[in-house]
C-alpha cells in the first residue's frame, strides 16, 4: 500500500460519505413523493 492507495481510499470514502450526506440531508428526491428540488409531497 503506497501513498497513492491511501489518497484513493480517502477520496472514495469521502465521496461515499458526501453522497450519503447529500442523499439524506438534502433529500434530493428519492421517493415518488419527493421532487428534485428536495421538497416532498
Amino acid at each position: 500500500m503506497g501513498i497513492v492507495d491511501y489518497v484513493l481510499i480517502g477520496l472514495i470514502v469521502g465521496g461515499a460519505f458526501y453522497l450519503l450526506y447529500r442523499s439524506l440531508r438534502k433529500k434530493k428526491g428519492y421517493c415518488h413523493g419527493c421532487t428534485p428540488s428536495g421538497k416532498c409531497k
Binding site: 481510499i9 439524506l24 428519492y30 415518488h32 416532498c40
Partner: protein
Amino acid sequence: MTLQNSVRPLPATEPAPLRIAVAGNPNSGKSTLINSLAGTRLHVGNWPGVTVEKREASFERRGERIALVDLPGTYSLSPYTQEEVVARDYLVEERPDVIIDVVDATNLERNLYLTVQLLELEIPVVVALNIHDEAERMGYRIDVTAMERALGVRIVPTVATKGSGLEALLDAATAAAGDPSRHRPRRLHYGGDIEAAAEALMTEVLRGHPDLAGKYPGRWLAFKLLEGDRRVIDEAGLQGIEPLVARAAEHLISAHGEDVESLMADARYARATGLTREVLTKPDVRKIELTEKIDRIALNRFLGIPLFLAAMWLVFKLTFDVSAPFADWLGTVTAGPFTRWTRVLVGLVRGPDWLISLVTEGVIAGVGSVLVFVPVIFAMMFFITFLEGSGYMARAAFVMDRAMHSMGLHGKSFIPMLLGFGCNVPAIYATRTLENPRDKALTALLIPLMSCGARLPVYILFVAAFFPSRSGTVLWSLYVLGIVLAVLMGILFKRTLFRGDSPMFIMELPPYRMPSGKSLAIHTWEKGKHFLIKAGTYILAVSVLVWFLLNLPWGVEQKKDSYMGTVGQAIAPVFKPLGFGTWEAASSLVAGVIAKEIVVGTMGEIYVPGKAEAPAGPAPSLSEDLREIGTSFAEAGKNAFTNVFSTAGIKSLQAEEDEGTTGLRSVVSKTFTPLSAYAFMAFVLLYMPCIVAAAAFKHEFGTWKWFGVAFIYQTILAWSVALLIYQGGTILGIGG
C-alpha cells in the same frame, strides 16, 4: 397529425406567453388529460410553501408557446382544503390566459358546481366534457350547443384515455386566450338579493380602494367578502371592512334566514342543477351499470374484505410470476459477464487488487444484489397502479374503512396507509389531508407497518430461497401481517395515546375504468424510479462503506474479525431467540436502517465469496457473453409468460434450485431455515422506519417525538412478533 406529433418541447429559457390552467374535480380524468396533452414534458414539483403537487409543462404548438399548469383536483374554490386554496390563489393572483375546466360527463351536476365558480373569475374558460364515451354508453345525451349558450364558453367533448378531442380542446383554448373579450364567460345570475348586495358592496369597496379594481374581479371579490372569506379579506388588505360587509349582508340574512356562505352555495348549486336539467337527458329506465354490478359484490359487507385480500394475493402472485425470471436473468448477468467486464476494465487502468475487490465484492455485490430486484419492484408498482387506475383501490379503502371504523379507527386514514405500499415517505406526508392532528399522528405511526417497495428485495430473496412454490401466498401473508398489526396497534393507540371519536368518512367511489397504457406507464415509472435513484445514491454509498468496514483493520483474514463483524457479533445475541442470531444477519439489519433494500445489499457483500480473483479457465469472449445475455433474456421472457399461466409456481426458480446455483440465494438457504427466514422477513417488515421516513416524521410534525414513538414501538413489536413466529414455530415443529 397526432397531438404528440404536433407539439414540441419548449426550451426552458424561453418565456411562455400563453398560460393555460387545467382545473377540475378529482376523478374527472384530469390527470389522464394532462398526461395526454403534455406527456413526458410534465415537470412535477410542489406549489410554493405547501406540499401539494404542482405539475406543469411548457411546449410549442403550431408556432405558439404554451405553458400548461395542472391545478390540484377540487370540488370547489372555497378555502377549506390546501388544494382549494392553491387552485384559487393561482387563478386569482396569476390570472392565466385561459382555464381548461375538465368536467366528468357522467357526473355533470357535481362537476358543474366548480365550473360555476370558475366563471365568476371572469377568465376565459373552455370546458373539456371528458369521459364523453362512457356517458354515451350510459345512455346520457348532453346538448353541447345548449350548454355553450348557457355558460358562454366553448364545450369540447373529450375522451382523455383515448386522446380524443384534445386537438380541438387546445384549438378552443388558444382561440379563447387570443380574444378574451369575445370569450368572456356569461355572468350567471344568483338571484336579485344576492346580486344587489354584491353590487352595493362592490361599489362601496371600490370607492375606498380603487386599486383593487384591477387586481380582483369585482363581483367575485364582493361574493367572497359577503361570505366572510378571511383569506381574501387579509390578502386584499381589507382588514376592518367587516362592519360594511355586515351591513350589506344584513338584508340577505334577514330575508333568507341563512348565513351568506350557505346562501351562496345554494345559489351556485341551483345554477349547476338547473343547467344539468336543461342540457342532460338520461334514459327513462336506467340500466344497471357495470360499476354498480361489480360494486354489489366488491362492496358487499361479507365479501368485500375477502375479495380485497384475494385481489392482493393475485397482485403478489402475478408480480412474482412475471418478474422472477427477469430478476434471475439480471442476477446472472450481474454476477457473470458484468463482473468479468468490470474486472477487466479495472485491470486495464492497473487498479490495485483492493480496488478490484472494492468494485466487484463491494459495489457490484452490494448495488447489484439490490438492482436485480428492479423487475420485481416495477411489476409490483404496475399492478398497484392498475388497481388504482381501475377504481378498485378506492373500493379497498372503502371496504377497509368499514372494518377499521368498527374498531374505533379513523376510516380516512386508510388512504395514506394504502400509499404506504409504494413508499412510506409520501404516505407520511399524505397524512396532512387529515384534519384532526391526533388522527394525523396516529395514521403516521401506523404507516411504517404498511410494507413498502423497499422491503420487497428482502422478501423476494428469502421467498425464492425457501418458498418458491408458495411465493405469492408467503408474500401476501407478510403484507396482511402488516395490515393486521396496524389495525391492532391502531386500537391500542386509540385506547391509550389517542382517545376520542373518529369523524365520519365520506369517500367518492369513481366508476370502474380500464386505465390507459400511457397512464399506467407514467405512474408505474413515477412510483418505481425512486428505487433506481436510491440504488445509485444511498445503496452505492453504503455498499462502499460496508466494504471498508468488512475489510478493516486492513488485511483482516476473516470477515467476522472485521469492524463490521465485531459490531455484528456484539449485537447478534439479541437476535438469537428470533432464529437469526448471526453476525451477518445482525450487521445487515443495522445497515438496513438507512434504507431497507440495503439489508440485501449488505448480505450480498458479506455472504458472496470473494470474486477479486479471476476464475480459473478461459473466460468467454465479449460476443459469447452478449449472445448469452440475449439468449437468457429471451428465456426469461418465455419463463415469465409460462409462469403466469402455470399453477405450479415459479418454474425458473425451482429449476435453478435443482441445479444447485451458487450466489446469495444459495448461501441464504444454507444459513437460515424456512422458519427463521420467515421470522427475519417479519422483522424487516416491522422494525424501525428507514432514515428518510424518520426525516419525514420530523418534517411533517416539526418534532422528533412521533418518530421516537414509532422507533420504540416498532422495535419492540418487530422483536416480539419475530420471537413469536420463531419460538411458536419451533414448539409446533413447523419449518425448523
